[in-house]
Symmetry: C2
Subunit: 458 residues, 2 copies
């Protein structure tokens, strides 16, 4: 199993942190503070054993050979030359994997690492991974930002870039997005997208895989691997270096060979990978896929307590290639009879005084309607009678219709935050404007189509 | 002056609030609580005199004729029939304008209001304005959401829809967007887009005008008016009811006659109005236009402390039709000589250890470069040495180049909030991902082109 080989990167029981309390080196980012912060995070979160190897210090061990155990993983954060030396020494401790944090390696230094890979089978993440890895299951956290630990969840993120990865990680922590694994790939001289995809495919904690990439080195293997995985787990890709000038930059940034965007797009389509356009869309799409089932059709009902945002929602759905569902006559008549004044023509306006009970009743009817494939709920607080606790009714009702996705739009600023507090831990994805919810539904439809295509071709 | 006529809506010295502490009527939204909340807001914020007229109560006056003054404005929040009666009575008090909060008026009730307009010249906002008006200058606030008062600023918002307006208002309050005036138009039987545009054109507090509309009733006047105003102030429009199904809904929602989107787009273009696609884009574009000058060319420099997000920025700029500026050779050489390791090929990577001083120096050089029309700064905290207070250098440097727009991207979740605390009160627009900053620059370029076109046609 290919995935077994990289297990040591995410699931070690014992870890060595190899750094220096003295060396400060700008470009590669070695620094005593960085070392100290990684130690802090590991001690705070990691459930296994951590051994500190400070090659210039008095605390911990001065030499990794002194470590009285056989750690599966060594995290090395020194300037390139010293890092390579430590990597070589770690072989004698029988480590299975290396996470090489710093950058600035020359060709000869890279080759030395690759020899370790060839001769001893040790797997290498990086160099230039910057932030390394996170596993929320066992608390492994090699990032040098103190307390930057996302909550446990089912979204895995792989980033080729330290900066983009850090941005996504900051986003996930701030908005409480549930994460299973986080990996910063860096220069990927050994462990690459394919290895990580295979590992995440087998990882029972991961339901959705997000990838930021600037280029593929082994296109065919990547596509073949992804095509198998998407049967079980959706893969989302954000690509940097799409335009000619950005691509030139990506080459010097992570030594990526960037093909034309046209070729890349065709490859993703073939693989059944869903492409997103922005960092925020990547997170928003992942949240939708983590929490809700794929959309089996195009017909969406909008259930709202405000008129204007429902109209914006209808526009946004059409822009995403989705349709406003035509409710069955009996559904429409029943709603309008039960709630005089409510216009049950989709988008359905429940009127500003709708509270939990009206949402519950109408959502039940709409979700049971065979003409409806999915629902966008809009529930504003400002200018309405709706109260944050009423939002629970949405999550409770949606739970009974596990085949039809429901997304929610507490439109605005404070309104979003207030409802987020109530629904963040439920399976309802939340978006602060209808346009983002429409894109999320589009993603759920895309994954639905990918699954349909696969089942047809079987 | 047309604009004089609606002055009383925004700049009254004395205001009557006419409601009932007893009537609760669902559809039109009359309720004692609503009445109480409007009174609360007016008492808290309004610097002029407020007179309470409770047609069923014991507090305040029972009859507006008892009010011992001549208020210029009456805000009426009763069911349609009672509202019309009070509107008629208010004429005897010589009011200049009426804000009609509630909805549900039939044709005959509307006609009665229009007769007041014709016979006595009183101007009428609404009915169905829901939240009425806000003027941050004099504290006028007729909304029924307690404490919902945006900070003073130069962005005016006109919304045809109560829900969309409430969402934008909530957004503005939450993200501390500076607002001059807020008006909910509702059914616009009298005061319409053209009246409000003319008023805002004359309003010295307003620099940018945002409009959410579902339809235009007087297209030619609207275009001609806008065409004059955009010479002085940019106008942004978000249109609801673009697609056929949403348009049908908009007709019943605010009685709008919605033309085809094609025709609408052509009209906006002719008028020099900038169209945006989402609620968030409307706010983001307005902030850019409020704080920064228009872009006089397409050439953007990206100055970043992280590699990957800078590549995403380069892609995003290209998608918006902007170009990566080619720095003058001397600029590039000077930067690279001063900061070894920094690659000054645009997008410029200042490397993770860049602090205030490096940003200041490089921004100075880049903004002085004649090959650069505008700058997107990216400054992440996570995975970098940058600290929130360093961001001041960006605002201070940008101030010296008032002809070239600068926008800033503290990419991520917490990172954005931390920098927002430091820069929110400055003239630097902030965006949480590079893609939004690129769109904002695109808007600044659009307005630049509109101004160029006008100056050519003079």
């Amino acid at each position: 199993m290919k995935s077994k080989e990289v297990e040591a990167i995410f699931q070690p029981r014992k870890v060595m942190l190899v750094g220096s309390s003295k060396i400060r080196e700008k470009v590669g980012m070695t620094s005593p503070k960085l070392f100290k912060n990684v130690i802090y995070n590991m001690r705070k979160y990691f459930v296994g054993e951590t051994f500190i190897v400070d090659i210039h210090g008095k605390k911990g061990f001065n030499n990794l050979k002194e470590v009285p155990a056989t750690p599966e993983l060594a995290v090395i954060m020194l300037p390139p030359e010293e890092s390579v030396q430590q990597a070589e020494k770690s072989i004698e401790k029988d480590v299975k994997a290396l996470v090489m944090i710093t950058g600035g390696y020359n060709r000869s230094q890279r080759n030395k690492l690759l020899e370790l890979r060839k001769e001893f089978g040790v797997r290498i993440l990086g160099p230039n991974t910057i932030m390394g890895v996170i596993n929320t299951e066992n608390g492994l956290n090699t990032t040098f930002e103190r307390d930057l630990m996302p909550k446990k969840g089912r979204i895995a993120v792989i980033s080729q870039s330290g900066g983009v990865g850090a941005c996504l990680l900051d986003w996930a922590c701030h908005y409480k997005v549930g994460i299973s694994k986080f990996a910063f790939m860096g220069d990927k001289i050994d462990v690459n997208d394919v290895d990580l995809l295979n590992f995440l495919d087998q990882d029972s904690q991961t339901k959705v895989i997000c990838l930021y990439m600037e280029g593929i080195k082994n296109g065919r293997a990547f596509i073949e691997t992804a095509r198998q995985i998407v049967k079980r787990k959706p893969i989302l890709v954000l690509k940097g270096g799409v335009t000619a000038e950005a691509a030139k930059r990506a080459m010097s940034h992570t030594a990526s060979i960037v093909g034309t965007d046209h070729v890349f797009n065709a490859a993703l389509k073939k693989a059944g990978i869903i492409r997103v356009e922005t960092l925020e869309e990547l997170m928003n799409a992942a949240i939708a896929l983590e929490k809700q089932p794929p959309l089996k059709g195009d017909r969406i009902a909008v259930v709202s307590n405000v008129g204007g945002p429902a109209i914006i929602a209808a526009d946004a759905l059409a822009k995403q290639g989705l349709k406003l569902a035509s409710l069955q006559k009996q559904t429409k008549v029943y709603i309008e009879k039960t709630y005089p004044g409510v216009d049950a023509t989709n988008p359905i306006d429940l009127i500003a005084d709708a509270r939990a009970e009206r949402y519950r009743q109408v959502l039940n009817l709409v979700l049971a309607d065979p003409n409806v494939d999915g629902v966008m709920v809009i529930n504003m607080l400002k200018s309405c009678f709706f109260e944050p606790k009423d939002a629970k009714a949405i999550a409770e009702t949606a739970m009974n219709y596990s085949n039809k996705p429901v997304v929610d739009v507490p439109a605005g600023g404070e309104d979003f935050e207030l409802i987020h507090k109530v629904l963040a831990e439920t399976d309802i994805p939340l978006y602060n404007i209808p346009e983002k919810a429409a894109k999320a539904l589009k993603t759920l439809r895309e994954y639905g189509k990918i699954l349909e295509k696969i089942s047809h071709s079987l």
